[in-house]
């Protein structure tokens, strides 16, 4: 009797409140919108409000008064700040970041041209980080408190501490200038440039799909050094988190059960504990990927990698504010997007997070 009223009440409750998935989705959209507003507000303040005189930056100090006034009106600087912000947001939503002074192209076109190189670099670096970081983390957890564990800990701390742009320079000095094992800066040798149609923009992927193996090999030899430099941070972070998650899992009761059943240590670690670790690692890998995307700024400068980081720094030195702000917004949006995506993925994969 009591039981039945209980289920009835629960059922009624279900009908009154929206399904939990819809609530989560609405929450996500709300957070995303808020972050977008924040990002545009900060870049608006940086690009339009903070420079002493944006008009002067464009026309130069020798321009006659009429030209100055015309540009001022054109930029909408006679309107209130709130109106200016509104115009800025709506143009960003239309993908209009203005023109780059340096390339004379619309900033969005430049972004589309430069972004794949950065994505390729960050992807290879993340893959390298996972390949080395995961086993290191698992090993450290299994051998907790022993020499292996300490070594992994120190390697992790080294990876956190090294200035990657400096490491990249030293690596270029050793492997390119002295030993001549690897090619120098750049994404690909000039004479291989333009052989492959840029379908995805990832040279490695495009050349492999089109069967141009020589191009593939050249591109691969070029990406090895910058990607490994970028991967030091990813490796440190992934190894550390894997260790901590793994220790957590190994102390759970199901692991003891598995051992009592007489399963081999390999089966216990990889088939039981590691599977649960993998789910938690999705978020960590997402975070790593996003941070490598922005961390590539300095690496790209050192390795002359034609990606978004180099684009932003070059624009910086040419006082190309449209390009800088556009680049910041695009990187910011992909940063937030990847983090959100990994969060959603985590909820889908882990049944516990869905409750």
């Amino acid at each position: 009797m009591d039981d039945r009223t209980g289920t009835k009440a629960a059922g009624a409750c279900w009908r009154l409140s929206p399904p939990p998935f819809a609530v989560k989705f609405a929450n996500l959209v709300f957070t995303l919108a808020l972050t977008f507003i924040g990002l545009t507000a900060v870049t608006f303040i940086i690009g339009r409000v903070m420079p002493a005189d944006p008009v002067l930056a464009i026309v130069g100090d020798r321009a006659p008064k009429e030209v100055y006034e015309a540009v001022r009106l054109q930029l909408g600087l006679d309107k209130s700040l709130l109106q200016q912000y509104w115009i800025y947001v709506s143009s960003v939503l239309h993908g209009d970041f203005g023109r780059s002074i340096m390339t004379t192209q619309p900033v969005l076109d430049d972004m589309i041209r430069f972004f794949p190189a950065t994505f390729e670099l960050a992807s290879v670096a993340t893959i390298l980080g996972i390949l080395f970081g995961l086993p290191m983390g698992v090993l450290a957890a299994v051998r907790q408190g022993r020499l292996t564990d300490h070594i992994v800990r120190v390697v992790g701390l080294l990876g956190y501490s090294v200035p990657i742009f400096w490491l990249g320079m030293v690596a270029l000095l050793i492997f390119y200038a002295r030993l001549d094992w690897l090619p120098g800066p750049g994404r690909i040798e000039v004479y291989y440039d333009g052989i492959v149609d840029p379908v995805s923009g990832f040279i490695l992927l495009d050349s492999a799909l089109q069967g141009e193996w020589e191009v593939f090999r050249n591109a691969l030899s070029h990406i090895v050094l910058p990607a490994s430099m970028l991967a030091t941070y990813a490796l440190a972070y992934i190894a550390r988190m894997t260790r901590s998650f793994m220790l957590d899992q190994l102390s759970q009761e199901y692991v003891i059960t598995a051992r009592v059943k007489g399963l081999s240590e390999i089966a216990v670690i990889w088939r039981h504990a590691f599977r649960n670790v993998l789910i938690q690692l999705i978020t960590i890998i997402g975070l790593t990927y996003a941070s490598l995307l922005e961390g590539s700024v300095l690496t790209e400068t050192v390795f002359a990698w034609p990606g978004i980081g180099q684009y932003i720094t070059n624009s910086l030195f040419n006082a190309d504010m449209n390009a800088v702000i556009g680049g910041t917004v695009v990187v910011g949006i992909s940063f937030v997007g990847i983090n959100m995506l990994s969060d959603v993925l985590y909820r889908i994969v882990d049944p516990r997070a869905r409750v």
Partner: protein, 312 residues
């Protein structure tokens, strides 16, 4: 009576006995004991001690820079350009004949200046927002945390780049840019701590005694957040040093002739192939100091945060 006996047990047996006696006699005695016990746990940790050693060396180098080097790191001797490391110039000279060893030592002042300024800006802002959000709760919490989340979601280096490009290069602007993107984790951290502390019984007791909100917050809640903030700050300092060096490398941080390590790498880059030491040595300095903060933070976490013992 028994207190007297316990109190007397350390008498005449030196400082160590006084520090280890079971029942402290005053607040001061208890604090000294607590400090001593933490120090014992801390000094038994080789990782933490290595870190501490590096940071102490950095601070000493910064304080005694004129004494150690006998110069100011900006004297140019154009006849001694790009000399390799040797007896006269331990770490060689740069493109203007300046002694690199002198410049590294003087550069430690700039590094400490940046790190200190960022800490002074970031910690109070983060802690005030975090404690208020956690203690007051409700819509205040919601608004403050949404605001924090926005900053948490930003890509750090890129935003710092954009910020410096608008304000113009320079140390102070670099510090502002770094601080702008560093404060938000502190707000999250202190909020989480405050929420757990808020519901404990001694806060209830303080409230029943009629303590004001402000007194509870800054007399009872904040002191308990300090240890986790200190850990986080130490670990963050490594990242701050790397970001500052990166900005310096791009020419957006400290301007020449200041001996900032990142900027030194940037000028040394032109001579990398033939005079490797010009760019390599400042990098080693950055690496060492950043490692020092990481080691210290990692060790502090072991000592101050019993929850994470043996973990992460």
């Amino acid at each position: 009576m028994s207190e007297n006996v316990a109190g007397a047990s350390w008498k005449g047996r030196g400082l160590r006995a006084w520090l280890l006696v079971d029942s402290p006699e005053s607040l001061f005695h208890a604090r000294c004991q607590r400090l001593y016990l933490s120090w014992r746990a801390f000094s038994a940790n080789p990782i933490a001690m290595t870190g501490l050693l590096i940071i102490v060396a950095l601070v000493l180098a910064a304080i005694f820079a004129p004494l150690i080097t006998g110069g100011n790191g900006t004297e140019q001797v154009l006849g001694d350009r790009l000399l390799p490391p040797g007896a006269a110039h331990w770490l060689g000279t740069d493109e203007l004949g300046r002694d690199i060893y002198q410049r590294i030592v003087w550069g430690s002042r700039i590094t400490l200046y940046i790190v200190g300024l960022v800490a002074i800006i970031v910690v109070p802002i983060g802690m005030v927002i975090g404690t208020v959000a956690g203690y007051v709760g409700g819509w205040v919490d919601n608004v403050l945390m949404r605001f924090t989340d926005i900053f948490l979601a930003f890509p750090r280096l890129i935003l710092a780049l954009a910020f410096v490009s608008a304000l113009g290069p320079g140390i102070e602007n670099a510090v502002l840019a770094i601080a702008l993107t560093t404060w938000s984790p502190y707000a999250r951290l202190t909020r989480a701590e405050t929420i757990t502390i808020r519901n404990s019984e001694y806060i209830m007791a303080a409230r029943l005694q009629g303590a004001s909100r402000l007194r509870i917050l800054y007399g009872h809640v904040v002191p308990l957040c300090v240890s986790s903030v200190v850990i986080r700050l130490t670990l963050d300092m490594a990242g701050v040093i790397l970001t500052a060096a990166g900005l310096g490398f791009l020419g957006l941080g400290a301007q020449p002739p200041l001996p900032e390590w990142g900027a030194m790498i940037s000028t040394g880059r032109q001579f990398l192939l033939d005079q490797w030491w010009v760019a390599t040595i400042p990098g080693i300095a950055i690496f060492t100091v950043s490692l020092g903060f990481n080691l210290l933070g990692d060790g502090l976490r072991d000592v101050l945060d019993p929850k994470s013992e043996g973990r992460a």
